[in-house]
Every structure is written in structure tokens, then in C-alpha cells.
């Protein structure tokens, strides 16, 4: 059995009904992550975006999550209470299909870090600046499987061996180890 470990999950609760669309969250996010801190403002660098469509009454603050190197094969639309949300409206990924969550200069992906800093903030700044309470912060303890079970790895590896053969797998592992040495 894997070891059960306790971890803290940081959660920003987004109440789309309370959002007034002011984009203060974008402002404070980009200013906080500027170097030196607060030296510049540019919503295009923010790790939160308010997907706004006032005439359709759509306001969705979305946080930058993992970078996706390829776009999805299919695109979905959600209809909630009669409002049609565009494809990708709720997606947190920087991906080739859109310009959200990419550094405007370099194109490198952005990711929300919950304003990690020293000293630690009591809550992320977007939450502090959202006085309409569309964004609220919550921490909770969760039990997670921290250590993967050895037999799970074996099952995966055996499948790869069967497909590619021992030699190719060994070569690949060696090559990966070489290239990642510096990290």
C-alpha cells in the first residue's frame, strides 16, 4: 500500500454571479508578478483572466494552470442557465489555440502560483482585491497518495517493453537521464 500523506490544497472559489467585471484581479496579479514587484501593470501578463461578455452576461475569472503543448482535438461549448459559454471558457491552460496565459513578449506560458512569496500572504492578492467577493480563498487538508506503488510503475513499464522492446526503452531512459542531468 502507498503511504497516505496529508497535504494542503489551496483553493480559490470563483462565484461568477458576483463578478462585476472590473478586472482588478488581473491588475493586481500582473503588478505583483512584475519585477521589481508592482513596478508595472499589464493585464496581458496576468495569471488570471476575466472572460467577459457583458451583453451575454458572462463573467468568468479563470486562472492559468498547466501549459498544454497541443490544442484539444475537439472543442466544447457549455450552456448554463441559457448562457452559452465559448469553447475554452473554463480552461486553465495556455495552449496553441489561444493567446491567453502567455507572456506577451516571449510567448512562454504563465501559471498561477497563488502569490507564493516570502513572507507568505494570508491569501492570494486577486482575492484580497476582489471586494465584491467573486473570488474567495479556502485552504483544506486532503489525504493524498504521495508515494506511487512500485507495482503500478512495473505494470506501465511492462506495457512499454512489450510495445518497443527492452533495448529501445533502455536507450530512451539513458538518453533522458543524460539530458536532464543539469536540472
Amino acid at each position: 500500500m502507498a503511504e497516505k500523506k496529508k497535504k494542503t490544497v489551496k483553493t480559490i472559489k470563483v462565484d461568477v454571479d458576483k463578478c462585476n467585471g472590473c478586472r482588478a484581479c488581473e491588475m493586481i496579479c500582473s503588478a505583483f508578478h512584475a519585477n521589481p514587484r508592482y513596478s508595472s501593470n499589464n493585464p496581458a501578463r496576468a495569471r488570471i483572466r476575466v472572460i467577459r461578455h457583458p451583453l451575454k452576461d458572462i463573467y468568468v475569472p479563470v486562472y492559468a494552470g498547466e501549459n498544454a503543448r497541443a490544442e484539444c482535438l475537439g472543442r466544447d461549448k457549455y450552456i448554463i442557465e441559457g448562457k452559452e459559454y465559448d469553447e475554452c471558457a473554463f480552461c486553465r491552460s495556455a495552449c496553441p489555440s489561444r493567446d491567453a496565459f502567455k507572456e506577451p513578449d516571449s510567448g512562454l506560458p504563465l501559471k498561477c502560483d497563488m502569490c507564493e512569496s516570502d513572507p507568505t500572504l494570508k491569501e492570494p492578492l486577486c482575492v484580497q482585491w476582489c471586494i465584491t467577493d467573486a473570488l474567495t480563498y479556502e485552504e483544506r487538508e486532503e489525504e493524498g497518495e504521495e508515494e506511487p506503488r512500485p507495482e503500478d510503475i512495473e505494470v506501465g513499464l511492462e506495457a512499454l517493453v512489450e510495445k518497443f522492446g527492452w533495448e529501445k526503452i533502455q536507450d530512451t531512459i539513458n538518453r533522458l537521464m543524460q539530458s536532464k542531468k543539469g536540472e
Partner: protein
Amino acid sequence: MRYAETGYNLEIDLSTGNIERVETDPRDTELYLGGLGTNAKILWERVPPETQPFSPENLLIFGAGLLCGTPAIGCNRTILTSLSPQTELMAFSMMGGFWAPELKFAGYDKVILRGKSPDLVYLWIHNDQVEIRDASHLRGKGAVETQELIRQELKEPNAQVAAIGLAGENRVFFASIEQGRSSASRQGLGAVMGDKGVKAIAVRGTKDIHVARPAEFMELMHEVMEYIKFREANPIPGVIPILARLGSPQEMAVHDEKWHTENFMWGNARVRRRDFWNEEIARAWKETMESMQNRLISCYNCPLKCGATITPPGHSTYMMKCFSKLTYTMAAFSDLAFGLTIAQRATEYGVDGYSTPQVMAFALELYEAGILTDQDMPGLPEGNEDRFYWLLDRIVRREGIGDILADGTYWAAKRIGKGAEAFAHNTIKKHEQLPLKLGMLNPIYYLMYCTGEKINITQIEGQFPQAPFPTREEREAFVKDWFQVPHERFKQYFLDWEPRGEKSMPFYPTVEMCCDIVDWMEKMHYIDDAMGVCSGLSSFHLKPPYHIHNYPKIISAGAGFDMDEEKLSLAAKRYRTLVRANNIRRGMRRKDEVPPEDHWKKRFPELEKQLLDAYYQMKGWNLDGIPTTRTLRELGLDYVAEDFLARGILEE
């Protein structure tokens, strides 16, 4: 390195199609700050007084406030400057929303339009890429509709678009420029945009705006935010709801309209209905608002929710602004459902919500009086509300009588003749005013109405209570935490001010005190208009988060030059005087500085003369309202002094 501003203006010649990115002089920023201040300087330098509003030489300047694009809370205003077709004076209409910060992020402080495009076009500003694009397919489209069509066409959902509707295209003198949940409505700048052949300006920017001393700037913004929260949690007691809180949330969020409906005039600014509001109306109007309103909304980086998206049944959605909620309703003696529904059409057409209903009510009054007849109005419907729609449709197309009415009540009355002038009774400097008619002269408001060059009372009043509090205890409680005053003496003015007796209106506050109070109120508005800060968090309000004591620090930490209260007051006086200089050069004089004759029933001509004399003197203007050479030179406006002397406007 430039801080707060980008240091570049975008110059677009619509006649030739030439587009230039021009670096600006940082010394001008220190002297005139930005927004309105630098707009006024450009207009002075480049638009000679012979220029007509609809001549290609007239400029239309979209100026972002100095602090727009920085983290300054509620700082999002675009200050538009041009010559107004209606007043024929320098106009500075303004809009909030999201456009000004986006322009800054694209790398520009202002867009300056000159010339005229031969065909209808729109501008697409995307960082360094600027295009003049064909807009023939957008001709006749609604102002709200156009914003959406352009975003779709450009595949740029984040573009901010300022657009005109049919009224602007047809050069209606009170046409607006609509943008998101805001608009530049006053003084007809939509008509100037239409005259230049520009349907819209779309902007998208992804560049940085820097502040000079980040830690200090953010600390000041935290103080502003904390004070906003404090004010939201602690409405000011003893004043009407509109003044108790910041912003103008009462328009959309508060249903009790007893104060507006019983104190403002109905029809063509004629009828006061003192017992109008009752439970039945309160219930019906609340139901109307709740059935049509989707959500309360904000402008860029502002926590207040002054606007709302409104969907009247069977019509498309629009964003309602401030007091337009009631202007159509009251002009037509109708109800809120009518007001919110016709405002949808009016917003798409792109017209000013203050002037338009009055122009229509004026036309119907003339019809009732037999001055306009069935020959002038063939096909005028029977129903009262239908008549408003009928007139609106004709005004924005300049069809038939609509062509005359489209010039506003002042010019329309002149053209109609037959005594119509008496019906155009609610203008200052040829521009329609809020429908207010009151009892006894208010000396503070008298000065503001006379000398306000934005020509809208809400854009100059604020800071000082509109009326005395009944008891000394209440007044003492009010002044206790009134730290926004520029000087302790303002507290004393207020403490001693009584509703009745020796120290009451119109002789108290005294002439000198009135001048002092008006000067302070005006100064704060002018500072906001250079910074791009909304007066809803500042000059319009009692005890606002932005004030004369924190502004110098905010400007200095943001823009990076030295600033203190004295230097800021001097800068505000400099460009305020330059605004006046623009108008003096266009012929404005004391004779033009008069409130509507019927604004107050009881007038005091002797006192009014004393007030205006003293105010002019305090401002450093002569008795005709012209800034003296001495004043001009003290302010570093020597070039204005030389011009006035050369033109014979002043003598040494």
C-alpha cells in the same frame, strides 16, 4: 524612462491616411499633467479660433488620463477634447469603461484625429500596428452593435471599442460616443467623430505601464482601497442616498427614486411633481428594474458597481448609465419601463441621455402651443410614448423636423422662431442642463453654473455638502473625520451654516466663502480630469478616497516627478485657465456665463453680480471673465498672454 504615461501620442490624419507615433515632451506632463491638461494645450496650439467644429482643422483628441493603466483604483477615464458643434466652444466630454487603460497598454497616451476621411472608416490600434479600415458595412449600425461586430471581425474579444451610432454619423449636435458601459455624451463629440468619417476606434494593447516608485504607490492604493471599504460600510448620515455612498450605485441598485422624481422637473424641465412617489409606483418600478436588469457592473479596476446591463423584453441588451435611468421617463411623464426601453434604442443610436429627452419634450411642447403644427410633424402618432420614439427616429436621421431638432433646443428654437426661444429655457452656453428648477438662489451653485466650462453641474459640484445640516451636533459629527478639506476654514464655513436665520442662504456662506468653496470643488474635478480618475471616487463626493492631500503623493510615486499640494494646485490652475483661454479666444465672455433664467424663482441680481465679480477676481480674471496678462504670466502661460494682446482681447 517615462512613468505612468507612455510618452507617445498617435497622430492620425484622416484626409491623407497618414499615421504617426509622436513622442511627447515630458515637461508638458509636469506643467499640464495629462488627460484634460495636455489636451487643452494641444487644442490651443493647433486649433486656431477661426476653426469651426465641422472643419477638417478641428481636432478630436482621445486622451487617456495620466494614471490610467497604472494600478490606480477607478482610474479609467478617457478625456475627449474638440470643438463642440452645439456650444461652439472647447468641449471636454469624458468616458469611463475600459478604453483608456487599453490605449495605454497599446503604447499611447492619446489618439489625435485631424482631417476628414472621404469614406466611413474605423481605426484598429493593436500595439504598434495601426490601421484605418473600411467601415462601409457598419454604416447605420447601432453603437453597441458596432462594438460587437468589430470585435468579431477582428477576432479579438479583448479589444475595447469606442463607436458612434446613427446620430453621430448624421452629425446630431448631441450625439455620443459609446464604449462598453460608458460614453462621452455631453457636447456632441459623436457628431465630430461622424463628421470626420470615423465610425469607431478599436484598441488592444499588451504592453507594460510602469510606475516610478512601486512600493510607495501600492501603499497609497491600499489606503485608497481601505477607505473605499470604510465608506461603503459607513454611509454618510443626514444626506440623500446619492451623496451618502461613493459612485452612483443608487441609480441601478437602489429602487427608491422619491428624491429624483419629486425634486427634478418633468416634461421639458417644467413640472415638479411633489407627491409623485408612492408605494404602488415604488413596487411597480422595482419590478420593472428587476425584470430587465441582469447584473450590476463596473468600469476598469473599480470595485463600485454604478452600471447595469439591461435587457428590455424583446430588445437587445445594453449597459445603462447613471441618471439616464430617469431622463426619458420624466421627459415623457411616463414610467420606468418606458424609460429603460427607449434608452435601449437611444444607446444604439448614440445620443446624450440628458439633452435628447429634453429636445423631444421641447418639440412636443411647441406642438401643444401650436408653434409646431401637423405640417411640421406629418404622421406624428397619437400616443404620448409613441411620439417620443417617433421623434427619436427622426432626430437621429435628420428627417423632416428631426433635422432642426438635431441641433438641440437652442439652435432649433432660433430656426423655428415664432416664439420658440422661450421654450428653450434650460440651457447654459447653448447646452441643455439637468431639469432642475428651484426656489431661492443658491450662491455656490450660481457660481458653478455660470463658470463651469464642462457645462454639466455634476462635473463640477461635490466635496462640500449641498445643504446645511439642521443641527450643530450633526454638523460637528460631520466635520469630525473630514480630513479631505484643503484647509480647516472649510469646516468652520460648514459648522456655522444654518438652514434658516442670519447664517443661511443666500447671504451665508459669504461671497468670499462661496468663491473659496467653488474653487476647491472645481480644482478637484480638474485634477481628476487630468489623472483619469472617476469623480465617483473623488471630486463628486463628500469625503472621497482621492483628495488634495494624497493626490500629490500618488502622482509623484506614479509619474516620478516632484509634487506637492501647492505645485498640484498651480498645475490645475494652469490648465483650467488654459481651458478658459481656448474659450475666450473663441469669443466667450461674461455675458455667456448665465444660468437658465428660471433656474431659481427668487433671484438676487446685486448679490449675483458681487459673486461673479469676486470669483473672477479670485481666479485672476478681469471683470469680463478674461484671464489677465499678470495671471497668465504667473502661470507660465506667457504664450496665451501674447496671443490675447496680439488679438486685442487684452491690453497691457
